[in-house]
Structures are given as C-alpha cells and as structure tokens.
C-alpha cells in the first residue's frame, strides 16, 4: 500500500510539474501573438520574398 501511494504521488507530482512548465510556456508565448505579423514580415524580408 505505501508503495502504491508513493507511485500515485510520484505520477501526480510529475503531472503537476509538467502542467507548470506548459502553463509558463503558454503564457510566455501568448505575449508575442500580437507581433506575429511583424515576425512574418521580417522572415519574408530575410528570405527575399518582400513583405
């Protein structure tokens, strides 16, 4: 039983930390969404497709 509890706790903690990493990254990249158009134009300019 203690082994089972430890196993469940282990999985729960892994999921919690995974969620934490995902949340941080989603919110981090969310701030750049309004600037996607700027990035697109820059990439087009660099690869020579104009704007």
């Amino acid at each position: 039983m203690p082994q089972f509890s430890r196993r469940v706790g282990h999985i729960a903690l892994s999921l919690l930390l995974t969620t934490w990493i995902v949340v941080v990254y989603v919110f981090y990249f969310r701030q750049f969404f309004p600037y996607w158009d700027v990035a697109r134009r820059m990439i087009f300019r660099i690869i020579g497709l104009g704007e």
């Binding site: 990493i21 701030q31 820059m42």
Partner: protein
C-alpha cells in the same frame, strides 16, 4: 574586420596576463585552468579600466599616454602569458578527450551559432541608442577633452568601468572594438555559467551546457551582446563574485572572500545596479557563516565585512569622483536629500512610472518573476523579456528531492540568495527588465539543476521538459537570425557604412551635414539624445535629462539667449520629435504657458536664431524593422545681439 578581431585578442590576452599576476599575488591561481583564465580576464579588465580612469581624472587622456600605458601593460603581461601558455600546453597534452555525447555536441553547436551570430552584429558600426547617447558618447567626449570632468547629463556620471575599456578600444582601434569587448564578455559569461554549474553543482557537461546555452539563447542576450553596453560586465562580475564565494565555502581561504569582494566591487563600478550585487554578496557571506557553518554572529559580520569592505573600496573611486565634482556621490539620484551641482533640473526619474507598472505591495513582489517572464512590455520592451526556462525549471529543484540531494537544494538556495537581494532592490528602485541581467547567469545555473531533474524524471515530464527547452532554443534562434541579419550586408562590405548608418541611426544624414559644414570650433545644443556621431562639441538640451539648462528658470527669450551664451553655444540642432517632448513638458509645468515654443519663435523672428539647414528626417523607431516616423530637423546659427537685450 580581421584587424578588429586581432586587436580584441590582444586586449583579452593583456587583460588576462595582468589579471593573472594579481591572481597569483592573492595566491588564488592554480585551480582549473578555465577558472584561472576567467578570474584573470575579469581582474585584468578591471585593473586596465581603473588605470584609464586614473589617467582621465589627471587630465592625461592623450592618445600617446594611453598607448604608452597599454604598451607597459603588454610588456608586464608577457611573463604571465608565458606561464599560462605552459599550463595550457600541459593541460592539453595530459587530457584524454572523452566523447561528450550527442546532446552536448548539439548544445555546443547551438551555442556556437548564437555566439557567431552576435559576433557578426558586433562587427557592424554601433547603432544601439544607449551606446550612441552615452556608453560611447561619454568616452568620446572625455577623449576629446583629454580628461574626465563633470558634464551635467544624467548618464555621464554613472560608474563607467567598462566605458573606460571602450575608451581604450577607441584609442587603440575604433568603436567596433568597444562593441567586441561586450561581445567577448557575453561569451565569457556563458563560460562562467558552465564552470559554476560544473564545479559547484556537480552537473554533467550536458546539463552545464544546457544552462549556458539557454541563457545565451535569450532574445535579451542577442540584443545586448553586440551593443557597446556594459550589461555583460555586470553579469560576469556578479557571477564570478558568487563563484569566488562558493570557492571560499569549499576551502575557507580568506583570499577567496577578498576576490569575491573585488569582483562585486567591479560589478558596482559597471552600473549603479552593481551595488545590488554587492549587497547580495554581502548577505550571502553572512548567511553562509550563520546558516551553513553554524558559527556566531561576529564571524558572520567579519565575512560580510570583508566582502562588503573590499567591494566598497573597489567601487569607491566612481562615487568619490561624483562627490568631489558635485557634492553628491550618487549624482543625480537622491537630489532631494543629497543635493548635487546642476542636478535640480534632472527630473527624468519622475518619468520612471512608465516602467513601474508593478505596484509595491508584497503580493506584487511575489508575482514579479511571473510578470517579468510573461509580460515583458510592463518592464520596458519585449527585448527585456526573460526566458521562460528560469521560471519553469528553477522551482523543480525543490521537488522530487531525495535525501541525498538536500545539500544540492541548499546550495541552489544559497545561489538564489543574491538574486533575491538584487531583485528586492530592483523591485523598489527602477523596474526595468534589462537591469535584471546582473543575476540572470545565476538563475541559469539554478535552472540547469532543475532541467537536469526534469530530464531524469518520468517520461511525460522528461518529454515536456525536452520540448520546452527545444522551443526556447528555437525561439532564441529565430530572434538571433532576424536581429543579426540586418548587420550582414555592412559587415560583408555589401553595404557602405554611411548607407547603413543612414538607415539605422536617428538623424545620421543631418549629423553628417553638421560634421561637413559647421566650423570646427562650433558648439551645439542638440535635442536628440544620440550625439555619438557628432564631431563637434555639443550638449544635450532635452528637458529633465540634463542640468545645463533649467527651463523653469528661462522665462524670456533674453534669459534663454543669455544661458546659451554662457554655455558657449554657437548652433542649435532642433528637431520636431525631441523638441516637442521638451516643449510640452515645460508647458505643462508652466501651467499651460507654451513658453519654450514662443521663445524659439521670437528668436527666429528677431533673426537671433538663423536657420541655416532644414531637412525632412526620420525619427527611427525600430532599426530591425526599419520603422520610422517623419520629423523635421533644423540647424540654427546663433547671431548673438549686440548690445545684448535686457
């Protein structure tokens, strides 16, 4: 291009040789070669900077004196470099090369790409705004005046340790060499992260490289590594101060404490924020004695006193200079308490609200790291954004820790302590994102411990962590390519320097006209901030940022003309963008009286201000995106009336 790199190598070798001499004097040489090289380079650059400062304060900033002093350094460093060469050779011969693994090779390749990308940008003529305003403009002015004297512009009296090296670079070669120094320090900082992670956190090559590479992949690093700015001096010296203190924890030799103090002091001489590093290091020394070594308060005070005392001694010349020049060591800060010559009109600190979107409550203090990561614009610009790697992975250090990892957790806690002290000062002082750079390398080391833990975990966490790290690196790669691509044509010679500067530097064509047409003894009042490319004497006239002209005391055209005559101004470079800001601020303070515009109109009408050049210009908003807004530049000649109006 090649010559610039040769000169950079020469500078770095001489710094290392000089610093190694001091390291041997402190009996601290003999650790790993990489550690010795890093400390030697940092110490040597500090020694050189302080010698240039000394020459400047003595009024000896003449080309031949500086070159002579540097020649002495070259000669003095030769025996030390010979010693280091022998050690390098022995280490190279003794070493058996182990296969580092594909992950390490991939990380090293990524790091090399970032480093080379930033090198390309460093080789271009300087265009970064702050560099043109003061990091390069101040050394150029000091060199022209042959001395370091008091100039009442808000940033010309900051601690300038790295700017002294920029000055040396400008004498020996050019301003590109100055930018290359910052680039070199950025690379050494990445190396310092690797070394601290390896030596004191027992991380594998791969995990230490993860810390160094994710740090270097940050957009903030890409944007600053190639600019003639002192950011990486602050980052490197703070990192090395902590490294020296961790060395002291290991072998308790007091000289490591002294070296930690020297490094922290040098950090304090780079930027005012370096004082936060000194505070952090002092607290760290005290906590180590009390908490880890379990010794009494007196011992803690002694350790903290050594670090703080030595750091204070090293940093003191900059603040003593200000005290002698102005009466306020922290000029122009704390004017209301400490006063200070010509600091009254400098009110730009009032503008800081634009970066103070955080409130000062305890909850805001706790939420700060989250906001710094996910809301970069609240702290200046997106470029001040901090990689999500720190926030995502540093907390993982405290999860899933088995009993034998307690010591590692404690060491990471100690590593984060100076970060916390630094953050506290930053939080209550000036909340600008880029100023956190002083402790970001420390966070990178802590994050690499967290990343290792995640990568050694269950499959779902390992996969997510791997993806997250890869996404950070790819995002950094994209920014690195987009940002640095703009410098490639000028560095390869496909675009002329003039054309490049016309595209990237605010009012460059107009500045060029001034350089070609105004008499050599002209002195200009300019309303733009970026005066570096002006080859005439000039003062900045923007309200709130300088103490030359107190606009509140200027009530009539005669007041203004009198002040300009006192300052020896012969011409004014007026521009619609920056002048508007100044005129609006003066109007607001004068209760709606549009005084400054009226004064200019009157003086132009009376032919005291005579327009000799008018041009449509472009106030550049984004160099990378080539965005600008239309403006107008007028150069006025001042025909002082005789007799002078009453």
């Amino acid at each position: 291009m090649i010559l610039n790199l040769i000169f950079l190598s020469l500078l770095l070798l001489v710094f290392t040789g000089m610093g190694f001499r001091l390291l041997r004097t402190l009996r601290l040489a003999g650790g790993s070669l990489a550690q010795d090289l890093m400390f030697a380079l940092a110490l040597g650059s500090g020694i050189t900077a302080y010698v240039v400062l000394g020459l400047g304060l003595l009024g000896w900033l003449h080309r031949w004196i500086i070159i002579g002093a540097f020649a002495v350094f070259v000669v003095a460093s030769l025996p030390e470099l010979h010693r280091l060469m022998l050690r390098f050779w022995n280490a190279f011969n003794d070493r058996t090369l182990n296969w580092p693994g594909w992950a390490s090779i991939a990380l090293l390749a990524a790091l090399t790409w970032f480093v080379l990308g930033n090198l390309v940008a460093s080789l271009a003529p300087p265009i970064y705004g702050d560099a043109l305003t003061y990091h390069l403009a101040a050394p150029k002015t000091f060199l022209r005046d042959h001395q370091i004297s008091f100039i009442p512009f808000y940033t010309f009296n900051l601690p300038f340790t790295l700017e002294m090296l920029f000055l040396l670079a400008m004498v020996l070669r050019n301003d590109v060499l100055a930018a290359l120094i910052q680039w070199a320090l950025s690379v050494v900082t990445a190396g310092g992260i690797y070394l601290l992670a390896r030596q004191h956190f027992a991380l594998s090559r791969r995990d230490a490289l993860l810390g160094a590479t994710t740090f270097y992949a940050m957009p903030m690093v890409t944007l600053y590594a190639s600019a003639a700015k002192p950011n990486f001096g602050l980052a490197l010296f703070t990192l090395l101060a902590v490294h020296a203190l961790f060395n002291w924890r290991r072998d308790r030799r007091i000289n490591w404490l002294i070296l930690a103090g020297i490094m922290a002091g040098l950090a304090g001489g780079i930027k005012t924020h370096g004082l936060f590093s000194i505070a952090g290091l002092t607290v760290l020394a005290a906590v180590e004695v009390l908490w880890i070594q379990r010794r009494d308060f007196r011992e803690a005070l002694r350790a903290a006193g050594i670090v703080g005392g030595v750091a204070g001694l090293v940093v003191s010349p900059w603040y003593l200079k200000n005290w002698v020049f102005t009466g306020n060591p922290l000029w122009p800060f704390f004017y209301s308490i400490l006063g200070g010559r010509d600091a009254g009109p400098i009110t730009y600190m009032h503008l800081r609200y634009q970066y103070d979107s955080l409130l000062r409550a305890a909850s805001d203090f706790i939420l700060g790291p989250w906001r710094l990561t996910v809301e970069g614009t609240r702290f200046g610009l997106h470029r001040n954004n901090i990689t999500p790697v720190f926030l995502a992975f540093v907390p993982l250090v405290w999860f899933r820790a088995s009993a034998n990892k307690t010591r590692l957790r404690r060491d990471v806690a100690l590593l984060l302590l100076p970060c916390l002290v630094y953050y506290a000062f930053w939080f209550y002082a000036f909340q600008y994102g880029a100023h956190t750079i002083g402790v970001l390398p420390l966070l990178a080391v802590a994050a690499s411990v967290g990343m290792r833990r995640a990568l050694a975990s269950t499959s779902v966490l390992r996969t997510t962590a791997g993806l997250a790290i890869a996404v950070s690196l790819l995002f950094g790669l994209g920014v690195n390519v987009i940002y640095n691509a703009q410098f490639v044509p000028v560095v390869l010679g496909e675009q002329s320097t003039d054309r490049f500067l016309e595209e990237k530097v605010v009012y460059y064509p107009q500045i060029k006209w001034i350089n070609q047409n105004l008499p050599l003894d002209s002195k200009l009042l300019v309303y733009t901030h970026m005066g570096y490319y002006l080859d005439r004497d000039y003062i900045y006239g923007r309200d709130g940022f300088q103490g030359h002209i107190d606009y509140d005391a200027i009530r009539t055209p005669a007041d203004f003309v009198r002040r300009l005559q006192e300052l020896g101004i012969t011409h004014i470079m007026w521009d619609s963008y920056f002048f508007e800001g100044t005129a609006n601020q003066v109007k607001e303070r004068a209760g709606g009286d549009d005084r400054l515009r009226r004064i200019f109109a009157t003086l132009e009408h009376e032919r005291i201000l005579v327009p000799i050049y008018r041009s449509s210009a472009r106030m550049i908003v984004s160099k990378t995106l080539d965005w600008g807004i239309p403006s107008t530049v007028v150069v006025y000649r001042l025909d002082y009336p005789d007799p002078f109006p009453g």
